[in-house]
């Protein structure tokens, strides 16, 4: 437990990639040896055989996974020129439109909930934090795939900037404009390639791809890659959000765990 806490609750913001990997590894070691079943199953189980299948899928994959493993990074020359825009491309929220009109200068990211030191991070501050650039493949559950270079701040660094998590924290809920939200567990949060991306292919994130900031959580299908991020809340239970299944996609009947 100590290892787990220390990996997420240090106050340092700047972390080298190696450190993140090492810390991620420690977290994984804890999770693998620990008795915490949340590592192997979704926060809310569906009834009947479907719940069993969900758990089998997630448990099998998770038992083979560690945060030392990175998804394949491609050559920047392989970047897809006309990356598809799917789902909402311009949230109609008044708040969003106001921020957009001002070039997102007033956009701030509140990090609240079960963190030791809740903060609000401005876009320019976010860009000053540790940075990671990765050229990865976006895999949509519909069937398409495309490659882009993403630049952003590791989500782990953002959580650490808020003083790290409290002992009872289990999930990170990320809210987006347009009413979207998704929940992620600490294993995915602390993966080195899990970043809050503000750049795409060397430029600012385009509007259709989730400006100003979107999530990249590379071991999941597209529907977990939340766009138009509004706020972050660390929680111990997912039941107070939406229909209480841990994300808008699982509210609508998709798997909460999108690794398959």
């Amino acid at each position: 437990m100590k290892k787990f806490q220390s990996s997420l609750s240090t106050k340092r913001v700047r972390l080298s990639r190696r450190e993140i990997i090492r810390k991620g590894g420690a977290l994984t070691a804890f999770l693998m040896t620990g008795c915490d079943s949340q590592f192997y199953k979704p926060p809310v189980l569906r009834g009947g055989l479907m719940g069993i299948a969900d758990t089998l899928t997630m448990a099998t994959q998770r038992s083979l996974m560690s945060n030392d493993q990175l998804v394949q990074e491609h050559d920047p020359r392989e970047v897809t020129q006309n990356f598809p825009v799917w789902n909402q491309s311009n949230p109609e929220d008044e708040d969003y439109q106001r921020l957009k009109a001002n070039g997102f200068e007033d956009w701030v990211l509140p990090v609240t909930g079960l963190v030791n030191n809740p903060v609000s991070i401005s876009l320019s501050d976010l860009k000053k934090m540790s940075r990671r650039t990765q050229t990865t493949m976006h895999i949509c559950e519909q069937g398409w795939s495309a490659i882009a270079t993403w630049t952003g701040t590791p989500l782990l660094s953002v959580i650490q900037a808020a003083g790290g998590i409290k002992p009872e924290a289990k999930y990170v809920m990320i809210n987006a404009f347009g009413g979207w939200y998704e929940g992620y567990d600490m294993f995915d949060v602390s993966h080195p390639q899990t970043i809050l991306a503000y750049g795409m292919n060397g430029k600012d994130l385009p509007a259709g791809n989730g400006a100003p900031v979107r999530l990249r959580v590379e071991r999941h299908c597209g529907y977990k890659q939340l766009k138009f991020i509004k706020s972050i809340e660390v929680v111990s239970t997912v039941e107070h959000h939406g229909r209480g299944t841990g994300g808008i996609n699982s509210d609508f009947g998709f798997h909460w765990y999108a690794g398959a």
Binding site: L49, M50, I52, A53, D54, L56, T57, Q61, L64, M65, Q69, L70, V71, Q72, H74, E78, T80, N82, P84, M137, I139, C140, E141, Q142, G143, W144, S145, A146, I147, E218, R219, H220, C221, F252, G253, F254, H255, A258, G259, A260
Partner: protein
């Protein structure tokens, strides 16, 4: 097994209809050069999307994939331990001559499904087909399915390199499923042609009860 095959196929079709194009290589999306478009076959993207249901499809595809895999493992273990594959499914060396295969092939083409006197059990073409389906196509379906999962790209990037890209894996997954459909249809035709009731009874009870003359042939 047949039930999960049917549901895997049905849910697979539902998923495919929601994105009715196939590509080759790493990337593919609407507008990217496709190697297969359902549109070319008279079904527009909009219509296909309406017919498909990827949410239902995905949920049931994984559920029945698990039923299929668990069932398959039990089957392999059970028959492996009892040497059933060795005795009944794997072709003998003596059967694998071109002449013999040609003879059986002509026999099959004529739709003569009476048991070939010289060969009790499955004939050599059946054996080759069963081995191919069980030990090549089924594993291929599973591996090409896994290669499409983003979590497996992290666990084993080699898996996707093996196929040369995610879209290639997806395309081959579909092609392989069509091969299985062809096998399944031929298999059903054979079962019906050789007496469905007797065959199904044999599948359930494990022993084939035929007429007296057929029994002698079996010996």
């Amino acid at each position: 097994m047949a039930l999960s095959f049917f549901y895997l196929l049905y849910s697979g079709v539902m998923i495919f209809l929601h994105f009715p194009e196939l590509y080759w290589g790493k990337v593919g999306f609407q507008g990217h050069p496709a190697i297969f478009k359902l549109e070319d076959w008279g079904i527009s993207w909009e219509l296909a999307e309406r017919l498909g249901d990827r949410r239902w499809g995905r949920n049931y595809h994984y559920l029945f994939a698990w039923i299929f895999v668990i069932n398959g493992l039990v089957y392999l273990l059970w028959n492996g331990v009892r040497k059933e594959f060795y005795l009944k499914i794997f072709p003998r060396f003596s059967e694998l001559s071109f002449k013999n295969i040609k003879r059986v092939f002509i026999f099959q083409i004529k739709f003569s499904v009476k048991n070939d006197d010289s060969m009790p059990g499955y004939n050599v073409i059946q054996k080759i087909c069963y081995v191919f389906v069980m030990f090549v196509l089924f594993p291929f379906m599973i591996i090409s399915g896994l290669a499409q999962m983003p979590a497996f790209t992290a666990i084993s990037p080699e898996l996707i390199d093996l196929f040369g890209g995610r879209q290639t894996a997806r395309t081959l997954h579909v092609v392989c499923s069509l091969l299985l459909v062809v096998f399944f249809i031929v298999h059903l035709v054979q079962v019906f042609a050789s007496g469905a009731v007797k065959q199904v009874r044999a599948m359930v009870t494990g022993s084939y009860v035929g007429s007296k003359s057929e029994m002698e042939v079996q010996k």
